[in-house]
């Protein structure tokens, strides 16, 4: 609430600044707008920008680093023996301190030093908040006043404002680049740390996956095996099933829509099919776990097969259903891009509709369709909720769709949800998996987009 009050105050100040800047520019020329270089509103905007932007930048920087700085100071003041704890343990202690200061821990036996630290922490936080309030508001007011003072009749306010806006536009467009860099760096760094503990070759080619590391060194049990092959095999199996469902149905419905369906039918059926695309994946996951998986299991029992209740089949089929509209709308695009002349050529020879479609349209549209299918594959590989809810956790290396397999995304979720220490191989493994996932989907997308673009150009 505190920050939002500040933001609202700043916004209020900005509107004031706009008003005064505008008024000032008018009073300089005595109301004769033509004597000004730019329209008065530009002077207002300029003043408002000076008033708001530095303060807002300060605000976001402050909030970003407040926690880190305050924590640092608190650590300094901790007793020596706590300070010299290994980083993971220190993190836990600090977490307790934070919770304590918020009053989240209602335990009767609170350590004296902890309580002190917590008090210290909350008082520092309060000071920081107050300071931010004062500093941000004074920066806003001073900068606004200064900007108002500098207004002259020759000042090129419009150009300056436009320059600022242009800068904003440019930086907005580069945000996409920064996001990518952010993804790559964050995933890469943690993966590097993972690969310092576990060799890359073991990760990429190991046939066994069992990430449960011991919590205490003396604990019996596994020390964690990180061979990712079963995960990728499981992902591929489910993706394959999904494609077997989605590609024929999606493609055939696109063909029917484009080549056979009347206008009425198309306007009715198309949106209904597209509903499938708008349904959140968590709903599909629920559907898979609640209805489809038991259905396959019972059907298996009826014909004497043992089907796991978390079978790859159920997850794959539901994922296939989810991808149908994706495949069909991409195929629809490429089929419609096939020039009419091509169709005429076949019809003119006396080909039937299906012959025209099978022998001329599909071959002509094939690159586009392949591109679309690749995009769909990348989508299936990265899909998370359906498999989290309907596929298993055990890393079986199996090609049997009736068994439970696990996937890369399922493992990322299980490794990262819940309590975690940020340095264990277990947590870091999730980032390594994500790195591979990112690289694979990126490569698939690049290839698919390239193919589709080439296809488009061919018929442009």
């Amino acid at each position: 609430m505190h920050t939002s009050t500040l933001i609202i105050l700043l916004l209020g100040l900005m509107s004031l600044a706009y008003y005064f800047g505008r008024k000032r520019s008018l009073s300089i020329v005595g109301g004769k707008i033509r004597d000004l270089h730019s329209l008065p509103s530009y002077y207002g905007l300029q003043t408002a920008m000076w008033c708001g932007i530095p303060a807002l930048i300060l605000l976001s920087l402050w909030i970003s680093f407040e926690e880190t700085v305050v924590t640092g100071i608190v650590v300094e003041s901790l007793p020596q023996e706590l300070q010299s704890l290994p980083p993971e343990r220190l993190d836990l202690v600090l977490n307790d301190v934070r919770n304590l200061s918020k009053g989240d821990i209602v335990s009767s036996t609170v350590d004296q030093t902890m309580q002190q630290a917590a008090d210290h922490y909350s008082s520092l936080m309060d000071i920081s908040h107050m300071a931010l309030f004062v500093v941000a508001l004074s920066v806003a007011i001073l900068a606004g006043l200064w900007a108002r003072r500098t207004i002259t009749r020759e000042q090129r306010a419009r150009n300056r404002v436009e320059k600022a806006i242009n800068f904003f536009l440019l930086s907005s467009s580069t945000l996409a680049i920064f996001t990518t860099i952010g993804i790559v760096l964050s995933v890469l760094f943690e993966s590097m740390r993972f690969f310092q503990q576990i060799p890359v070759t073991e990760f990429l080619f190991g046939l066994e996956w069992s990430p449960q590391t011991a919590i205490r060194p003396d604990q019996v049990g596994s020390s964690g095996v990180f061979g990712s092959v079963p995960l990728f095999a499981g992902t591929m199996l489910i993706t394959l099933i999904a494609m077997i469902v989605a590609v024929p149905i999606g493609l055939m419905s696109a063909i029917y829509m484009a080549e056979y369906a009347g206008k009425r039918f198309r306007t009715l059926a198309k949106p209904v099919l597209e509903v499938l695309a708008g349904i959140p994946t968590v709903v599909y996951g629920f559907f898979a776990a609640l209805t489809v998986a038991p259905f396959f299991r019972d059907m298996g029992t009826n014909i004497g097969l043992t089907v796991s209740s978390e079978s790859a089949l159920a997850a794959g089929v539901v994922m296939g259903i989810m991808i149908i509209p994706f495949v069909s709308s991409l195929s629809d695009d490429v089929i419609n891009a096939v020039p009419q002349a091509m169709r005429d050529g076949a019809y003119g020879l006396g080909a039937t509709r299906s012959e025209t479609i099978r022998n001329v349209i599909i071959p002509a549209a094939l690159p586009g369709i392949v591109g679309g299918v690749l995009l769909a594959v990348s989508r299936a590989i990265g899909e998370t909720m359906i498999v989290v809810m309907a596929a298993g956790l055990s890393a079986n290396l199996s090609a049997n769709p009736l068994e439970a397999v696990t996937t890369v995304t399922v493992q990322i979720v299980t490794l990262l949800v819940g309590d975690q220490e940020f340095d264990s191989a277990k947590t870091l493994a999730a980032f390594a998996l994500a790195l591979v996932l990112f690289v694979i989907t990126l490569a698939l997308n690049m290839i698919a987009l390239h193919i589709v673009r080439k296809y488009r150009e061919q018929y442009e």
Partner: protein
């Protein structure tokens, strides 16, 4: 109307009355009917949705003849041509009324099948449209879908013969497995002609087959049309009057969806009877 009636009287004075009267139609100057027709069209109207594109056209296409259709852009030549093998069926909003017969059989009869119809009335389009397949497969496509060949050898011979007839064999015989889209524009158009004659149709419709081609390629195709006339009946739409004069025996002049005048090519180009025809031919408009 005035023009027509005067033209009619002119005609009557020229030759024996009763017979020639039979050969004309309302609204059209010249000899609409021929003695030995392959296709006969009577009172054809074509609508695109609400809009009428062809008005009451009657015309015969004679056996082993080339008939050319000329007229200003948008006058309905392509539309009319496409009626002859029911290519208009592929356009949802298009509706055809009247009667079109081929060898005495009404092709718009409900029971008639478009597949065999199009097998006997082939079509070549304005823009060459080879399939994105090999040259061989382009030619073999028609025979294959219609089941015309018994074995590979037979198919090979059909392909070769068609390419030879289209005058393309020498140029492509070494690269039959390369994509048809890799040929030059003129070669592609001859490929499309070869593709059309591979199913041995009786009639070939050509919609401005040379409009995308250079003069040399055009000359080759014109030569080809002349040779094909021995075996096929050809209807060709063209914007080039020289071309019409060179390749066709009869010429039909369309204007705003109406068939204005039809007759022997020589006669149309030397002494058109209708004012509009004359204006068009002498280049006063169009």
């Amino acid at each position: 109307m005035n023009d027509t009636s005067t033209a009619k009287t002119g005609l009557q004075s020229e030759a024996g009355a009763a017979m020639k009267q039979n050969r004309t139609a309302e609204g059209t100057v010249g000899e609409v009917y021929v003695d030995d027709p392959r296709m006969t069209c009577r009172n054809v109207d074509v609508y695109y949705g609400e809009k009428q594109a062809i008005f009451d056209v009657s015309l015969d296409v004679g056996k082993n003849q080339v008939i050319s259709m000329i007229g200003p852009s948008g006058c309905g030549k392509s539309t009319f041509l496409r009626c002859l093998n029911r290519m208009n069926d592929t356009i949802d909003i298009c509706r055809v009324t009247g009667q079109i017969k081929m060898d005495g059989q009404d092709i718009y009869d409900g029971g008639l099948d478009v597949v065999p119809l199009r097998a006997s009335v082939g079509m070549v389009f304005q823009k060459p449209n080879p399939f994105p397949k090999s040259i061989y497969d382009n030619i073999a496509y028609g025979p294959r879908i219609h089941g015309l060949c018994d074995d590979k050898q037979h198919l090979d011979s059909i392909v070769e013969k068609s390419l030879q007839r289209a005058g393309l064999w020498e140029e492509v015989k070494d690269r039959l497995d390369q994509p048809g889209t890799g040929l030059s524009g003129g070669q592609q158009q001859r490929l499309c002609i070869a593709r059309a004659i591979a199913v041995s149709p009786e009639v070939i419709l050509m919609d401005e087959p040379c409009s995308a081609l250079d003069p040399i390629a055009t000359a080759k195709i014109e030569e080809l049309i002349d040779e094909l006339r021995e075996n096929f009946t050809i209807a060709i739409v063209t914007h080039s009057m020289q071309q019409a004069a060179r390749v066709s025996q009869r010429t039909a002049y369309f204007h705003l969806g109406k068939l204005i005048e039809v007759g022997e090519t020589d006669q149309i180009f030397t002494s058109p009877r209708h004012k509009l025809t004359e204006d068009y031919i002498t280049g006063r408009f169009g």
